[in-house]
Subunit: 243 residues, 2 copies
């Protein structure tokens, strides 16, 4: 069997790579990925063979990786964050039906919901929902429905892809929906450039978040009704007694 690994590399700095991800990349003959992530990995493994495709070429990229798996011995597809959370893992499996001789291996990574959470403090200390605001592959109506239900359920919420050039007002629209279920002063936070140069975080109310413009390198967190600020960190208690 030929081997194809789908590897989550975490937020982008080497220290958040898992040991398993590092070993897998070290053993790979070819590493395939979105050009930006390939650049990150090249810093640590400059001697490898690389192939990259631009953003929105995910299907081509994964098919190429499966094809190359027959040519090289060990091929890896790299994803930022985790391999499965809005990553390439599902797509590789979907395409793999045409490549029965390729054995697929998923190496998890620290997704932005976890790395961003660590920067902010402990925002997802209780039940949480992860929702992408990108409507490229998902109808906006479904995103809206999920926001409503997550708001109604008092979940902590983590928003991926909160903005892009074409979707500048999506975060505002999401906040407007959530304000029907959550208080205006619900504690929120956002983190930009997690684990990279220029990392920054901000803590603010849901009402304030509604007016903020963020970029595509930002992950947004919305607290539940118990979330509080402790020492400039965003903290959602689990509910332990005797504190």
């Amino acid at each position: 069997m030929k081997k194809l690994s789908v590897v989550g590399i975490g937020p982008g700095n080497e220290s958040y790579l898992s040991i398993s991800a590092k070993e897998t990349l070290k053993d790979s003959d070819l590493i395939v990925g979105y050009s930006k992530y390939v650049e990150l990995v090249k810093e640590y493994f400059p001697e490898k063979n690389y192939l990259s495709t631009p953003m929105t070429k995910e299907v081509d990229r994964c098919r190429m990786a499966l094809e190359k798996a027959s040519e090289y011995n060990i091929v890896s597809v790299v994803c930022s964050g985790d391999a499965g959370v809005y990553g390439m893992a599902a797509l590789v499996y979907e395409l793999s039906v045409d490549f029965p001789d390729v054995d697929i291996n998923i190496v998890p990574g620290i997704s932005a919901v976890l790395s961003g959470s660590a920067v902010l403090g402990a925002p997802i200390g209780h039940d949480f929902a992860v929702i992408s605001l990108s409507d490229l592959l998902t109808p906006w109506e479904l995103i809206e429905k999920r926001l409503k239900l997550a708001g109604e359920g008092d979940f902590c919420i983590c928003l991926y892809n909160p903005s892009s050039h074409k979707r500048k007002d999506y975060l505002k629209r999401a906040c407007e929906i959530l304000l029907n279920f959550k208080e205006e002063d619900t504690i929120c936070g956002y983190v930009r450039n997690i684990g990279r140069i220029g990392e920054e975080y901000h803590i603010l109310s849901l009402l304030e978040l509604k007016e903020i413009e963020v970029d595509m390198f930002t992950t947004v967190f919305i607290g539940n009704s118990n979330t509080k600020v402790i020492n400039n960190k965003m903290v959602t208690p689990r509910g332990y007694k005797g504190i």
Copy 2:
């Protein structure tokens, strides 16, 4: 300032430790944790000082770690999975108001929603909700409400703490709630002993899951309406066209 790190160690095998978590533990003078996790970490760093408390003694454990931070230079609290997902991070922040000279640092880790997902394939390839079925700290009514809403929103769902000696029928109750919103043949999966000796996974329908008894070392995944089985893996497509 004294330093206290809350470190997510992943599912328990060394290969899923992040490089940052490993470095943090290596630099620590004292490592504090639930006895089971302390045993795991001791294997890799046998020369360290350790303190452990039994399960349900989380408040004592975290307070002890904050107290010891004044005595030792660098103290770490270890959590299985991630530091923030049902971990000790929030509790440490809550208790830290009495220890203003201790600087808290969160090191994220690969939580069971990610490590379990990698074993099953790609079950959380779209928006997902993470819900704990433990009602020790959360009223069952709230858990039930969140299950309903997550079901109604067609989220992929990951269940933590699906069972214990006292809560043998909770997974069944959760499935019964979800069956009001999801089809009987919705693809589900569960993973036992993730990343440890005896790791096993199973893929089955929601109707079948309702009849399964799992233990406390199990993480459960419930697919959305698009989740399918490909080559004995659980795969939730993101929705890419042209496959």
